[in-house]
Symmetry: C2
Subunit: 192 residues, 2 copies
DNA sequence: TTCCTCATTGGCAGTCACTGCCAATATAGG
DNA sequence: CCTATATTGGCAGTGACTGCCAATGAGGAA
């Protein structure tokens, strides 16, 4: 039963992590990143600061943690794409699917995106995430391309373009269709 | 004489900043980023920690500070490029010139690049710099393109590709020509 | 030269992120 | 109920950074 026990523990851990992410996001959004201390977050969740740091490695991770899996999801979609599709097209479509999911979150997704865009202290963590995404996605792209450096550069370029588009979307008044915008921009970057 | 006096002060400031950058780079390279304290850097320069923080805002800035001007330099080159050149080509060539300068630094440039690539704590500052570069360069690209978002995305994409190429170059054993590699990769990303 | 003014300096104390250590506590399985 | 094991939270310490203030130093006026 050690298996089950371990699994239960993991589920419990994930629940706490989600609670931390939720509390942190709310607090950052209402009081600002700097003016929110780890103490505030821990208190909101109902645990000690010392324990909070057993669930997240850094303050940045409180809000960025949940973004970890996205890279794998995108990589899986690249792999699953029709083999006749070019590396670029497979990649752009896979990333666009993520854009759709973000857009589906509605206003909360927009608010979070605005927070990430306007909080310089989060950029280190954000860069880390993007790096991990790139590490996950690049091999899938490389398989269609046979060139490691080009594959990595292509992934980095597309993710960078995504960032620009998401920021534009997050701050635009009129409702813009995020993935349409992304497709348009990616097309323009790819054609020049 | 207030003018001259002010200028002298500025020159003095820049000299101290350079001394800080040099000391920080050396110390980070020999002892590692974490194991180097601001106290160590200040002592090496011969000033107090309190004063050091009047020259640089953060520990990251000690080594990243000198990278600030590069964005403007690239922007100027994009503007200066032949108007018949496409936005993409002008941008890629301007960035390649920077790659040449980096390569011209030789081993010290490589070592610094390796440090930046392997030190996660510097990624926030690095992302900030890249953002500032992008803010400086994008208007110059937009002028040839008439589309703000596409211009920003193009710049972000090319800078992301540059990062990948620089990292590859910094860690490769055999001497690779940095800007050749960059041109090849940029071409591949742009054509797909 | 001497004095005055203003910028720069550096020490001090305080905040906050984060860590190692340890004793108290909870919990699953016998 | 009891024990092995995991989890918890307090405490003290480090290091980045900030506001405050008294001391210092350098240039110009008298």
């Amino acid at each position: 039963m050690t298996q089950l026990r371990g699994r239960a523990r993991e589920l419990q851990r994930d629940a706490v992590r989600r609670a931390i992410a939720e509390a942190a996001t709310t607090l950052f959004l209402t009081s600002g990143y700097d003016r929110t201390t780890m103490d505030d977050i821990a208190r909101e969740v109902g645990i000690s600061v010392r324990s909070a740091f057993r669930y997240v490695e850094t303050k940045e991770e409180t809000i960025l943690g949940p973004m970890a899996e996205i890279g794998d999801a995108i990589a899986a979609r690249v792999r699953a794409a029709d083999q006749r599709q070019s590396a670029w097209d497979a990649l752009v479509h896979a990333v666009a699917r993520f854009a759709d999911e973000l857009a589906a979150e509605g206003e909360s997704g927009k608010a979070r995106s605005r927070l990430l865009a306007t909080t310089p202290q989060l950029r280190g963590g954000l860069a880390d995430k993007r790096r991990h995404w790139a590490d996950a996605i690049s091999p899938a792209v490389e398989q269609r391309l046979d060139d490691e450096v080009v594959a990595r550069a292509m992934v980095a370029a597309v993710l960078a373009a995504l960032d620009v588009v998401v920021e534009k979307w997050a701050f635009s008044e009129e409702p813009v269709a995020l993935s349409d915008l992304f497709h348009r921009v990616a097309g323009a970057v790819g054609d020049h």
